[in-house]
């Protein structure tokens, strides 16, 4: 086995030149990356970017057309059975046996993945507590709401204490409160597991991950630690400000504020750009109020994923 050829000793997940065709359609195009022990990495990309395919190959559910993937140094093509022992996986659709109770469901997967009967019993109590499912442990899964089903799916992924967690769109389709609970839970799990999660929501990565891999049309277009993501996106934070007063004068005053890069007029609003690590809202408010104008509103406009892709992909297509 040619393990650790790359010299990255602590990589739990290794992907080398991974390519996958569905018939003639290219879904994943020669991607390579490493994920080290203890990292929480976000796989970010729009729909049909190849996120789920990559994850399905990593978990051994699918075989790649070309390339290799390793989980804990097990080749997932030639030695998939061994590698699967290290993985907890929640597919995007959160598949469940709806006619089983939460306990039976978790017990089935724990035992299937080699947890002894007694240990499984204890472990189920731990994971239902962790996922706040105590009340529903003896409820038939089909009767649970979407958010609770999601938690059961997550509980299933961690019930056998795997080193690696692969979560495909873990917060899709649940309500905002549950989304934030799930994100906290993922952060909590990140203390003991190495996590790869996919999402098409930029703030989700910002909130939960320490590193991001952005893929688009099956290719990696950017890969960096969260702090540096700003460099990728040219680091802009955009604020939309609505002020009553002499526009030209206001623009001039706002431009003088520290950290403000650019102020422009868009309809009735002023768009203020600043680096992502600086929040000039306080100073903007102060300046406007001190000058005697009326501040009507101030909103942060998220740099959308589409904007990022536009920047990244146009950068690539015009190599000047």
């Amino acid at each position: 086995m040619e393990q650790n050829k790359t010299g990255e000793k602590n990589s739990l997940i290794k992907v080398r030149h991974l390519t996958k065709y569905y018939g003639k359609r290219l879904a994943v195009d020669n991607i390579s990356f490493d994920i080290g022990k203890g990292e929480i990495v976000g796989l970010l990309g729009p729909n049909a970017a190849g996120k789920s395919t990559t994850m399905r190959i990593l978990t051994g559910f699918m075989m790649p057309t070309k390339g290799d993937t390793f989980i804990a140094d097990c080749n997932m093509v030639s030695n998939s059975l061994e590698g699967r022992k290290h993985i907890g996986y929640m597919p995007e659709s959160v598949p469940l046996y709806t006619d089983m109770t939460v306990r039976d469901y978790l017990d089935f997967f724990a035992r299937l993945r080699g947890v002894p009967r007694d240990r499984a019993r204890k472990r189920i109590n731990e994971v239902v507590t962790l996922c706040s499912l105590e009340e529903y442990v003896d409820t038939v899964i089909g009767k649970l709401s979407r958010g609770y089903k999601q938690r059961v799916g997550l509980a299933q992924a961690i019930v056998h204490e795997p080193e690696v967690l692969i979560l495909d769109e873990p917060t899709v389709g649940i309500d905002p409160i549950q989304v934030s609970q799930t994100r906290n839970l993922i952060k909590e799990l990140g203390k003991e597991h190495t996590i790869l999660l996919s999402t098409h929501i930029l703030p989700e990565v910002t909130m939960t991950c320490n590193r991001v891999i952005i893929i688009h049309k099956g290719k990696i277009v950017a890969e960096d630690r969260m702090e540096n993501l700003s460099a990728i996106t040219k680091g802009s934070r955009r604020l939309r400000v609505e002020v009553k007063g002499p526009t030209d004068q206001i623009i001039r005053r706002l431009q003088r504020i520290d950290g403000v890069r650019k102020v422009s007029k868009e309809g009735n609003y002023l768009m203020v750009e600043s680096p992502i690590n600086i929040d000039p809202r306080g100073q903007i408010t102060e300046t406007i109020v001190k000058s005697g104008w009326t501040l009507l509103s101030i909103d942060s406009v998220e740099m959308s994923l589409e904007d990022i892709f536009l920047q990244l992909t146009t950068k690539e297509e015009n190599p000047q």
Binding site: T59, L81, Y89, P95, L112, R113
Partner: protein, 239 residues
């Protein structure tokens, strides 16, 4: 082995919790019971035999196999749960065998329930010939396991239970029905058809003959279709 029993256990529990199994059990027992009794009436109770039961047991068992296997893999595909099964440290063979053992287990329970018929003959003082009865049960077991393997294979091809039950039911009906067609076809082919017909192979058991060729035939079909089901799961990974 352990993984197979975990999957089979989950599967069997699924059968017991759903009304389906109870409905087919009831229909099966009512139908076979009716044939068992009416045959005895027909021959004026001059003989104690379970021939009446056996005339209908074959087709009923095939229907039973097609129905209980229709969701075995297709439901997993449809619900997406096979993604979890196939990413757990379990081989595809274990998954298929787990499903098979569960189906076989359920069928054995059903066959044990039908032992009420020969038992009744003993209790009422008849002296049925034990040889053909045991041979017939062996025949039913072999026939049923071949049918379950075929059902599981077709279930592995689709995520639609209805397609699965129709195609496997149709295949089983054809394999059984060609036994009736033997008299209408040219002599040269009769041998071939009687060799592959489920019915012709089953008939020997009924009269108490355990023909090695038939035993091997049913076992061969079972192994072949279980193998094909495993291959079908594997192929799915590469597409």
């Amino acid at each position: 082995m352990k993984k197979i029993s975990i999957i089979a256990g989950k599967e069997l529990r699924g059968y017991l919790y759903s009304p389906m199994a109870y409905i087919i059990f009831s229909v099966f027992l009512v139908l076979t019971g009716w044939y068992f009794g009416s045959y005895l009436r027909q021959i004026d109770y001059n003989n104690t035999t379970i021939q009446g039961f056996l005339t209908i047991a074959g087709p009923c068992l095939l229907a039973f196999a097609a129905i209980i296997t229709m969701r075995s893999l297709s439901e997993e595909k449809k619900m997406g749960t096979w993604e979890l099964l196939l990413t757990s440290p379990v081989s595809d063979t274990d998954v298929v065998l787990g499903k098979f053992v569960a189906g076989l287990g359920l069928m054995i329970v059903l066959l044990i329930l039908t032992m009420y018929y020969p038992l009744l003959l003993y209790i009422l003082g008849g002296a049925p010939d034990a040889g053909p009865i045991w041979a017939s049960y062996l025949g039913l077991l072999l026939l049923g396991s071949a049918a379950i393997a075929i059902g599981i294979f077709f279930s592995s091809l689709t995520n639609n239970q209805i397609i699965s039950v129709v195609v496997s039911g149709g295949t089983l009906a054809a394999l059984w029905g060609m036994g009736y067609a033997i008299i209408y076809i040219p002599k040269g082919f009769q041998q071939v058809v009687s060799f592959i017909s489920f019915k012709s192979n089953f008939n020997n058991f009924n009269i108490g003959i355990i023909d090695t060729r038939s035993v091997i035939y049913y076992l061969g079909i079972t192994v072949l279709f279980l193998y094909l089901a495993v291959r079908s799961l594997e192929t799915g990974r590469w597409n």
